[in-house]
């Protein structure tokens, strides 16, 4: 039986390290058991990376008296996580790290019966913009070149992206509609695979988040052509936005933490304070800069209003796509 004992010792040791110092919240609500920190995507993706980053900041600064237990529930494009939160037996200890499938999945899969507006806003850690990338060997250097090239190829221009009916395909569909482009779209299961196939020139362009394409941008392999942000990005000051080109469209991936429906106000206040500290930490501020995330600070009421706007926008975008 030494086998299991050893393993459990190792696991126990890791939890002990995580829980040793008691957090300094003298009064008010405190978690009574480990906190379910559900991640809306699989291991290794953008949401997963952020969740584990946040967890590491929480633990390094002893911000909670009970550990966060990250669990990947990426199944069904996030449907699994949404159901997990909707049916959470202990809403005070159930949190979700989201991406935009938070909006799209309930719209695309109405049978789930998930209404995200019943969920509890905790904090928006930042929003992740989208950028149009091509390989340097394509010879394309501006967005105008890109449009000309796509039109020349008449349906043979290949772009890759994550999934169908998700962020990447929404952005590509909007761009195609606005410029009357015919693009062959290949869905992948993650941003890393998309970037890899652009680096290997299996596909011709992507709309990766900057964090996914940054390594290849720095090595000079990827060329950014257009940002789908509201304003020009600090990291890419020479890259124009779609808005400058006269189309009122911007699109971001939300990196937020959300509580289960029915979470008590006290618990929500506790988590807002904890993650507010994470947000203000030097580590997170550094992460926002290095990964080109934009800040989007909102209180509870503003978040709720933001959610209902996002749901409407996505409903419209998705219905335009299917036409």
């Amino acid at each position: 039986m030494k086998l299991t004992k050893r393993l459990f010792l190792a696991l126990a040791a890791s939890t002990t390290i995580a829980t040793l110092p008691i957090a300094a919240f003298a009064d008010g609500w405190q978690p009574k058991r480990p906190i379910d920190f559900t991640i809306m995507a699989g291991a290794g993706g953008g949401a997963d990376q952020i969740a584990r980053f946040i967890q590491s900041v929480v633990e390094a600064n002893d911000l909670t008296n009970r550990p966060l237990i990250p669990t990947n529930r990426g199944g069904g494009s996030g449907a699994e996580s949404l159901l997990h939160l909707k049916d959470a037996r202990d809403p005070d200890h159930t949190l979700l790290v989201t991406l935009n499938s938070f909006y799209t999945t309930p719209i695309r899969q109405e049978a789930l019966g998930v209404d995200i507006e019943t969920f509890t806003p905790i904090i928006m850690m930042g929003v992740d913009p989208f950028v149009l990338w091509v390989h340097k060997d394509s010879g394309i250097t501006t967005f105008e070149d890109f449009v000309t090239k796509v039109k020349e190829m008449d349906g043979e221009f290949v772009m890759g992206g994550t999934g169908t009916g998700q962020e990447d395909s929404i952005v590509i569909a909007y761009m195609s509609g606005a410029y009357d482009l015919k693009i062959k779209y290949i869905p992948y299961d993650g941003g890393g695979a998309v970037a890899k196939d652009l680096a290997g020139k299996q596909i011709m362009a992507t709309v990766n988040n900057p964090s996914e394409a940054k390594g290849f941008y720095e090595s000079g392999d990827f060329v950014p052509l257009l940002a789908f942000s509201d304003e020009r990005m600090d990291a890419y000051p020479d890259v124009p936005t779609l808005k400058e080109k006269g189309h009122d469209f911007s699109y971001y991936n939300q990196r937020a933490i959300v509580g289960a429906p029915g979470m008590s106000d006290e618990a929500a206040a506790y988590y807002r304070e904890v993650f507010g500290k994470v947000y203000d930490s030097e580590k997170w501020q550094g992460y926002l800069v290095s990964e080109s995330l934009s800040p989007l600070i909102m209180d509870e009421a503003e978040t709720r209003a933001y959610w209902s706007r996002q749901v409407q926008n996505h409903r419209q975008l998705l219905s335009e796509m299917s036409n």
């Binding site: 086998l3 299991t4 050893r6 393993l7 190792a10 696991l11 890791s14 390290i17 995580a18 699989g42 291991a43 290794g44 997963d48 990376q49 584990r52 980053f53 967890q55 590491s56 633990e59 390094a60 990250p70 669990t71 529930r73 990426g74 199944g75 069904g76 494009s77 449907a79 699994e80 159901l83 695309r108 899969q109 999934g163 169908t164 009916g165 998700q166 062959k184 779209y185 290949i186 869905p187 992948y188 299961d189 890393g192 695979a193 970037a195 890899k196 196939d197 680096a199 290997g200 020139k201 299996q202 964090s211 940054k214 390594g215 290849f216 720095e218 090595s219 392999d221 992460y287 290095s290």
Partner: protein
Amino acid sequence: MEVISFLADGILLALEPINFALIILGVTVGLFIGAMPGLGSVNGVAILLPITFLVPPNSAIIFLAAIYYGAMYGGAISSVTLGIPGASTAVATTFDGRPLALQGRASLALVTAALASFVGGTVANVLFTLFAPVLASTALSFGPPEIFALMLLAFATFVGLGGDDIPKTVFSICLGLVLAAVGFDTISGEPRLVLFEIDGFMRGIGFIVLAIGVYGIGEMLWTIEQTRGEVTTTNPKMTAKGMASDAKEAMQRGWKGTTIGSLIGFFVGILPAAGATPGSLMSYGVAKMMSKTPEDYGNGSPDGVAAPEAANNSASTGSMLPMLTLGIPGSPTTAILLGGMVIWGLTPGPRLFLDETEFVWGLIGSFYISNIAALVINLAFIPLFVWMLRMPFTILAPLIFVLSIIGGFAASRSMHDLWLIVIFGIAAFFLRKFDYPLAPAVLAIVLGPIAEPTLRQSLLLSSGDPMIFFNRPIAGPITIVAIILILLPGLKFLRRKRAMAKN
């Protein structure tokens, strides 16, 4: 030779007291996590990632890589002693490791696995050190059609696996493919085959669930029925002398499998979509094909243990290559390691290799040290693992059952998966009674989720033209070899039938 001096610096860094201590700790933790059915290196690395915040990035990645290494060694342990693959990378190890254990040669199987893992890891380390940049660009030339061709080849090397009953083998493969298709379809973005509208199926059916059900529960029920609980398979005496002679035998009877596994494992491992599991399965298939005595495979051939074990270690080093040179994960575990690098303030990508030489070469240096540490620690624990087998079956059987349930739950923390494990276990018991081979179903659930999307992506690329698998310079030859291999057993079968008809 610039590389040699970089490597020497890296090895020195890995030998610094804190790093060396972390290597020993990491390998040991990894070994036990890997040995636990259901838990693999992904779980170990993910659980321990936040702790690494306490040490410098160099030490952190060395620790996590040591866990990864240890887990690759550990996977073989439950494959041999319990007959349950500890991780998908160790499925092929059960094919011959389990029979050896049942013949009372568990120690030979474990020693073979340890030595083959060591050789596989070392070969991969050397190739990695010398050719990293060249190999990185090769990895990029594998797009969806190339990966699909490779998966076809992996299936092809296994056509003969289920024995002579081809219809039952095909049935088993199809069963696995259908189970693999449950859940969410990335290409269309729609849920599919959500059986009985149970939400748990949204996630799909993982390899772990099927493998634990089939091997942990089904196999155990079968053994109980066959032997009425009186299993007297093993009476191993563990002595230093015995292990030395096992080591000698392992080298004599396992070198061929080790060689094949080391090379195939590495080259499959460096391809970002493929990874260690297809690498170890293909190595087993190829070793069997190239063997003079293929009939030994499946009945306890040391080569059959050596090939997949050399391959999974070699591939796990290989999968570090796209991670370090391109910033692309070669496996789920390396995906988490990449996340770690971001936490530690590094930028993964093509510049990492040039800008962060100390970090990169410290890690590469640690591969060499971890590999030696894993060999020594693993050999030291073999008597313990073999001793477990000496427990009366009436104790071992419930223990396996409990381990299966804990492992199955720990991986996903979901009751849904536990019910599936039990159902699959009972179904596997009956299929086994009707002589259906189950290994092909397990293979299909591992390879299906790679093969299906790449097939569909390829056909989207070519607008539906299947010639894309033949007219690309890398995909073409692989597809043709795969098709020949698939047709071969059929031709043999026809020839034999014709010969029988003549008589």
